[in-house]
Amino acid sequence: MRLEGKVAVITGAGTGIGKSTALRFAKEGAKVVITDINEASVRQTADEIVQLGGEALALRHDVGSEDNWVQVVEEAVKTYGTIDVLFNNAGIYVIKPLFDTTVEDWNRLMNINVTSVFLGMKHVIPVMLKQQRGSVINASSIAGIGGSPNHVLYGASKGAVRTMTKDVAMEFATQGVRVNSIHPGYINTAMVDYAAATTHRDKEALGQAVSPLGRVGNVDEVSNLVLFLASDESSYMTGTEMVIDGGAMAR
């Protein structure tokens, strides 16, 4: 059990990568605090974890709200005593040409994708510092490293997450709190359905086009990586960016 006795907070855990990670963490012995803006979805994830014999606390969570973060951290500590792992996973995907992008679009996406990560680190790391131990994993994207047409909004948000990760990693490097980012390529979630629809391709063609492995990734392949970064196996890793994209960024 690679996360035996650890407490993990996972945002956006009602679907996709967040849900897969919640289940994987629970199977590896973690108690999970799982949150989502869609409360019904995250309750469903919690039910599945409990059926497997795990422990989960499901909370409705607007990740762009500081008050909400304060409540989530309080609930987590009250229920399980501490927080060892934070996976800032919640986010949204918008593909939109520059000239069509409004300030409202911009502010909404930055709130959900960037302010969320800032607030998560701000409110969870103090709990980790009390025990001089913790691992934060922030979900960026290959869009946080390279450019794509019509990705000004999403790319800016994921680029911010990439750099914030390194900044906060440096701030707490000597205090036992590690902070790393993951950079998935196209992973088989609702985001890929959206990307396929927006670019008028089917999912298989999209996978073949975007990755040398010739397919989109599976959510479980990403949660494998998050587990590695959350566990003590990655004890000398901080401030790094881990690309998981079937080779897309290598060329």
Partner: protein, 247 residues
């Protein structure tokens, strides 16, 4: 046991990061070939075999094509196949360009870059013959990404390893041969045994975590990349450096 029935080769497996990785693979069920120039590989293999694990020493010069080919052949003869290659063998040396002897440059390139090329070449050829796919982990460095002013040859070789890794990663993706590089910071290994306290403290100071890495910490990352858990990871680098390159 993530590596039950897998066959893994570790070049430079008789000491340091290589030895730690050999031990970690063996403990998780792999049959491990210790490919090293040093006869110490025999001792490591004997010790593991006494514990009921499975390891085999093949004396190897990674700069010599015939030697690498013979080592891969010996692996297949002994264990029937090759699933994982950790191309790890390497040396460290200082020396600025204006006074670096050509022979010292050449030795660095031969061991740290050509050695990785040859290890990849014969591992990939064998994996293609098997049709099974496979996983290759090359040993890069933080100096695949950033320089330091007294190690031009080392950084050039390790920079080469990074793009060799990306090239092989994309070239063999369709055959499901994954190729990634591990990029360690400075690790407390025999490569640093002769360093003075002052030099050592300087190296520590370069890492935001305030310590050097342990060989076992690198081994765990190699195992992640080599395992099926990393099935969507190819052509990339995994940096394990206590924050060195994030500054």
């Amino acid at each position: 046991m993530r590596f039950q029935d897998k066959v893994a080769v570790v070049t430079g497996g008789a000491s340091g990061i290589g030895e730690a990785t050999v031990r970690a693979f063996a403990a998780e069920g792999a049959k491990v070939v210790i490919a090293d120039f040093s006869e110490r590989g025999t001792e490591v293999a004997e010790e593991l075999n006494k514990q009921g694990l499975d390891a085999y020493f093949v004396k190897t010069d990674v700069t010599n094509e015939d030697s690498v080919k013979a080592m891969v052949d010996a692996t297949v003869e002994k264990y029937g196949k090759l699933d994982i290659m950790f191309a790890n063998a390497g040396i460290g040396a200082e020396g600025q360009s204006h006074e670096l002897e050509l022979k010292d440059w050449q030795r660095m390139i031969d061991i740290n870059l050509t050695g990785v090329f040859l290890s990849d070449k014969y591992a990939i050829a064998q994996m293609l013959k098997q049709g099974t796919g496979g996983a290759i982990v090359n040993c890069g460095s933080i100096h695949s990404h950033v320089a330091r002013n007294t190690i031009p040859a080392y950084a050039a070789a390790k920079g080469g390893v990074k793009l060799l890794t990306q090239s092989n990663g994309i070239a063999y993706a369709q055959q499901n041969i994954r190729v990634n590089a591990i990029c360690p910071g400075y690790i407390d290994t025999p490569l640093l045994k002769d360093a003075s306290d002052e030099a050592r403290n300087y190296l520590v100071s370069l890492h935001p975590m305030g310590r050097l890495g342990k060989a076992e910490e690198i081994a765990k990352s190699v195992l992640f990349l080599a395992s099926d858990d990393a099935s969507f990871v190819t052509g990339t680098t995994l940096t394990v450096d206590g924050g060195y390159t994030a500054q």
